[in-house]
Amino acid sequence: MLQALCSRSLQAARLCAPRRAVVVEVVRGRKSRSDPIAKSKEGRIKTPPPVDPVEMVVLKERYEEYQLIISALRLEFKEEVQRKKYEAETGSMAEERARKEAEEHSALMAWNRAENQRMLQLRLQRVQKEKEEVEQKEFEAALEREQKRQEFIKLKEEELLRLQEEAKHFITLENLDQRIEEALDNPKNYNFAIDKEGRVIKQTVLK
């Protein structure tokens, strides 16, 4: 009937368990305000547990004594905590500790600065080297370019010379008649014979 559930399986139990008039949860107070009193408890009058007066007197004395001792202990512990705090801040060891810490800090800072300097030097050297390399490459590239340009110029000059040479043999308006006469005077025969072995015969029937 009543299942003792822990909070995690509450959801699962709500799904699995059948619907009841009263919600089945083991939480404080099974019933809400509006739920009726059970039949077995209808005429019940709740009375507090009986107190034995003799025991009560003895108990009260014991409690007084106990509370006195406890409050005294509390004050003691408070004082101890405050004393420890005070000593930690302004005690005999505190100054030495502070001094040592300051020394350590300054040493570490100095080491850090030295490291930074070293790294700076390394970095500068590296940057220098890289710059030099870049310059070298640029210089070489410039040389290459120059060389290429020179070669190009040479080629063009040669071509120019060749053209000039050929220009001497060009046919112009002044040469025209002369060349025609020459051509008519010297008929050229371009016919030739060739066989499958590759023997060329330039001599033909024509003149």
Partner: protein
């Protein structure tokens, strides 16, 4: 008064620190195990605590001992900072000797002894 610096970043209004027992979440049926813990008063019993100050195993072991561990140094610190202790923790500390014996421990023992005496006298009367 020493200032309580951290109240665990939950915005409570008022409240104080208590040293109490919290169930350690082992999630085993019929096998409880308590941690003695300094926590904020309004927190859940098993919720976030400020510091663990010991343990308490309520089930006796094979030598019929119930084991308790206590960190007296830190308990002194917390009580010095103004922590309250719950009843079971006060009783445990009383039995350990750190606090005086709790009155209810003594009273309970007397009641049980009286009950045992009346039982034995009643048994003897029934025999006769």
């Amino acid at each position: 008064m020493v200032h309580l610096s951290s109240l665990l970043s939950k915005q409570y209004h008022g409240g104080h620190v208590v040293i109490r027992l919290a169930l350690a979440g082992h999630n085993q049926a019929n096998r409880p195990f308590y941690r003695i813990v300094a926590a904020f008063n309004k927190r859940a019993r098993d919720g976030k605590y400020m510091e663990q100050l010991g343990t308490y195993d309520p089930l006796p072991n094979i030598y019929n001992e119930k084991l308790v561990s206590l960190n007296f140094d830190r308990i002194k610190y917390w009580i010095g900072c103004g922590a309250h202790t719950s009843k079971p923790v006060s009783k445990l500390l009383g039995l350990a000797g750190f606090f005086p014996l709790h009155p209810m421990t003594v009273t309970e023992a007397e009641r049980r002894r009286a009950a045992a005496l009346t039982e034995s006298s009643r048994e003897r009367e029934e025999e006769l």
